[in-house]
Symmetry: C2
Subunit: 102 residues, 2 copies
């Protein structure tokens, strides 16, 4: 996902807590069906985000089965803001380079 997987996950969690499988659906929806994350990418990424302290997880066991629900931490929200700014800068830079050409 071009190095933006963490940003996409943090950004999706910015809309509220969710479990891994639901995050994949959320990214798919909010991207206008353009982005399709894979489980094999998402779960390791969520573990990494948790190890970094940007998300926290809790297990939920109900009639629907076992789920691991993730939520942004305070540090995670700050990181989201930082990375979103970084992304804005990068995409503006690419637009600048393409500029007259495209």
């Amino acid at each position: 996902m071009n190095g933006q997987l963490d940003l996409l996950l943090l950004g999706s969690l910015g809309a509220g807590e969710a479990h891994g499988y639901a995050l994949i659906a959320r990214v798919h929806e909010r991207s206008g069906a353009r982005l399709e994350l894979r489980e094999g990418s998402v779960y390791p990424a969520l573990h990494k985000l948790e190890a970094a302290g940007w998300v926290a997880s809790r297990w939920v066991d109900d009639a629907d089965g076992r789920r691991r629900v993730y939520a942004l931490t305070g540090a995670g929200r700050a990181e989201l803001v930082r990375r979103a700014e970084e992304w804005k800068g990068f995409s503006a830079a690419v637009r600048g380079v393409l500029g007259a050409a495209s």
Copy 2:
């Protein structure tokens, strides 16, 4: 450069032929000094683009020394358009995901 190196090089060459070192400067300028490509990334990428038939090179030997000047081919210009569209779609998708969050 987040998987967009080829696009940046093709886009820069869209503004006219140039040699490798000059392309680095061109990207730096046009990105508002935000993007700094490395020689170790640029030269192999240019060789790959040439192998794919999207750019063509010629050696220039003059008083300033030896340079390899690259130019977009017809196929390269088509590829640039295609990748620029792809980039637009991707960045729109990311904006969509961040949307309410950022």
